[in-house]
Symmetry: C2
Subunit: 314 residues, 2 copies
Amino acid sequence: MAAPREPEVIRDKAAMRAWSRRRRAEGKTVAVVPTMGYLHQGHLSLISAAAAASADPVAIVVTIYVNPSQFAPSEDLATYPSDFAGDLRKLASTGVVDAVFNPPDLYVRGAGRRAAATGGAISCLEEEEAAGDGHETWVRVERLEKGMCGASRPVFFRGVATIVSKLFNIIEPDVAVFGKKDYQQWRVICRMVRDLDFAIEIIGSEIVREADGLAMSSRNVHLSREEREKALSISRSLVDARTGALKGNTDCKQIKNKIVQTLTETGGQVDYVEIVEQESLVPVEQIDGPVVICVAAWFGKVRLIDNIEIDTRS
Amino acid sequence: MAAPREPEVIRDKAAMRAWSRRRRAEGKTVAVVPTMGYLHQGHLSLISAAAAASADPVAIVVTIYVNPSQFAPSEDLATYPSDFAGDLRKLASTGVVDAVFNPPDLYVRGAGRRAAATGGAISCLEEEEAAGDGHETWVRVERLEKGMCGASRPVFFRGVATIVSKLFNIIEPDVAVFGKKDYQQWRVICRMVRDLDFAIEIIGSEIVREADGLAMSSRNVHLSREEREKALSISRSLVDARTGALKGNTDCKQIKNKIVQTLTETGGQVDYVEIVEQESLVPVEQIDGPVVICVAAWFGKVRLIDNIEIDTRS
């Protein structure tokens, strides 16, 4: 790693865009790593991927913004962990981050006239806010946003696609890095970029795990020691499934049942276990091409997700 | 007007973006005028507005693309008029248009696997296309897209917001000009640009009318001479309503009833007559601030729209 270097902290949208355009005018590739803060080794690996994204000099922007629109009112927006000072130290220690974009709020708030609700699901943004003159534009990736995390978190991908569009329009990056731990999110963003013609290369960065296999997540901090131990059953069952599939156990119903059984026996509450095609996220019955097993499960009050890619042909 | 000058015709997305970035690097303001072709004096007035948009030299791109996703299968995509050679002559005659973006198709087509329909309304794009690997990302301006034209054309503004997002991402303009004849469309675009943080100034350009008052539209060509004569009742009734309002007749129910009566008596079939706040498009009962009266009506097989802004305080 390079020597420690303080990134510039930018809070204003116009200043952020001007910063980015200056870097681009200097011939630099602008790479963005969107985060919600409370950074861990997983995030730092995204930054390494950004640094390696181009042969040209890369100007790296890390965004730290907890996006209200991707949380439903019942979800954990209020308790989402944060440590901005700690985040800045970690970013400085990488020596490669040029700017941190940390805006106070990225949504226009209306005058308080509440419009008729348009559907079942609303986000924290809409709960606190009237629809009158406030934010009302949403980017929807209509097929990929359904199923898996989209089934149990109905506003999540709409909020993600929308905030990422906003960040893309503010920062105008050439490259953006997303973690494959949020596998469906990564595919949603890739599809959105293709469909809306954003001039941005999306890099999917591999999952970073603790020494014992637990996928890194800002939410892990909320796990008790006991819950954390139990939660190891997620990564273990995924690795076992992969090993089995490569040996010929490719029946998805069997594989899923076994994972559900393992997680349940260790005290987890399964949200979903799905085996889907890697790009389309369409469920498959038999593993005979590039697939990914995706899992979401609750341990205590913490919802964890994890996944493993498998390609029996490779 | 300047001397005639042939605009460069660009059909490829990457070439368009490269063209635009070169102009910007030269210090020019890039202005785009999105059209569906079959150009008339109304479009040319948008180009004049684009030319006047900045004190810097302006590079003007006119897009000509009939966007399938904003037409429902029941609508007139197949018969939408076109005359590319004539359009080019008209653009050359302005002497100020630098490029014409005329792509063959801007949507990714899937492999033919049809996903379950997600709602009632679909567009021509979705009818011809399976949802499998094809385009599935939509930009929705959820409140403004409802009502008026959105009520009778349920996929229209979704298609418009999406194609405009795509054109913005391909061309990366500094300025975009839209006609206020499509009043709701203009407001939808303004809101989308605000909500998604596009770095683009939107200019709303005034309605251009024939000598007899008919608002210019590519669809006017489909009117018979008799229908065209009858259709003048639209602009006449709007001007009468405005004159009346400025004299104190500000009761919206009365005004709307009178317009409906006039249009019906002259053989029109009214789709809607609405009096709404100019920015929010929320219906009002009394005219006591900046409002706009919007009308859509069929004359024969042609659906025409028109509107008039009124501000009794000015």
